[in-house]
């Protein structure tokens, strides 16, 4: 859901499910992996749960905020990056994990590593959505 949920989609669900818009909004807002608003080409999520906090996740998040000029939860004006704080990403073995779209970058501990990651993403031609990663593997 890179495009987020446009207004007409909410209204369509209202017709299909016979459920008022605020109620479906309430359901959708419970799930963090639904992007309610349009996200940038690279959706950066930094884990800030216990093990990552100990390893300085908050400093990394502040560094990214400073570098991109946005607060967590916002998208840059050029539509390239969206930054979010994530609850546990399930990679406590290699803190701090940063998830971009569906790709994990682990063991990120210094701001220099974050800078290198941001530079790499900036020069990446394609987007990094989970849909692009899943490919054609299906259950038989």
């Amino acid at each position: 859901m890179v495009d987020g949920f446009p207004e007409r989609r909410w209204r369509r669900w209202q017709t299909i499910f016979r459920c008022p818009v605020p109620r479906s909004r309430g359901v959708a807002s419970y799930y963090t992996m639904y992007n309610k608003e349009k996200v940038g080409k690279h959706h950066i999520e930094v884990c800030h749960n216990v093990s990552c906090m100990v390893f300085g996740a908050d400093d990394l998040i502040h560094h990214i905020e400073h570098r991109l000029g946005i607060a967590a939860g916002e998208t840059t004006a050029d539509g390239l990056f969206t930054l979010n704080r994530a609850e546990c990403l399930g990679a406590c073995c290699n803190p701090v994990p940063i998830q971009v779209g569906g790709t994990y970058y682990e063991d990120i501990k210094t701001t220099a590593q974050v800078d290198a990651l941001l530079d790499e993403l900036r020069n990446k031609p394609g987007d990094t959505t989970p849909q692009a990663l899943i490919g054609d593997l299906k259950a038989i």
């Binding site: 799930y31 992996m33 609850e87 406590c92 899943i134 593997l137 259950a139 038989i140």
Partner: protein, 170 residues
């Protein structure tokens, strides 16, 4: 690192262990074949003797969990695997799914034999795209090899992308 016997991750560094032929060459699915020839109660007893325990914090003995499932029943029981790892500090199943997905599938099959269940759902969190791909590939391979018979045991990996409960800031 201390020298401790490797049981679960014994074949972790074997190249290509995530594929069926390599896994079978290293003794994979032998336990399942053994379980196929046994009665469910005998399987539970075998697990009891082995001392197998859960890998969560409590280390709950597996045979007690399995014995708690009612034996005489007329409704179907399902085996549901939680591969969410939502609790911080316990990243343990990700490597299992990434590197030894067939071990997980074999474990599912053995539990299903013991629980007399014929359907299994594996619930994987939405962020785990690589582990999901590995597990789904393993399941597809096992289907093709005829280890999972469509009419008797159906295993499907539920990919959590569409419904992903937030960990609620635990």
């Amino acid at each position: 690192m201390s020298e401790q016997p490797q049981l679960l991750y014994k074949n972790r560094y074997v190249p290509g262990i995530k594929y069926l032929d390599t896994y079978v060459a290293h003794g994979g699915y032998d336990s399942f074949k053994k379980a196929l020839a046994m009665e469910p109660d005998a399987i539970i007893n075998e697990v009891k003797v082995s001392g197998l325990r859960g890998r969560g914090g409590a280390g709950f003995p597996t045979h007690i969990k399995w014995s708690a499932v009612p034996k005489n029943r007329d409704v179907e029981h399902y085996l549901v695997i939680n591969a969410d790892e939502g609790e911080p500090g316990t990243a343990k199943d990700r490597d299992l799914m990434n590197f030894l997905p067939h071990l997980l599938v074999e474990g599912c099959l053995c539990s299903m034999m013991a629980l007399r269940s014929s359907k299994c759902y594996i619930y994987i969190r939405g962020e785990y795209i690589a582990p999901w791909k590995a597990v789904q590939h393993a399941i597809n391979e096992a289907y093709k090899a005829g280890l999972l018979r469509q009419e008797r045991s159906r295993i499907g990996a539920g990919f959590r992308y569409l419904y992903t409960p937030r960990s609620r800031g635990v």
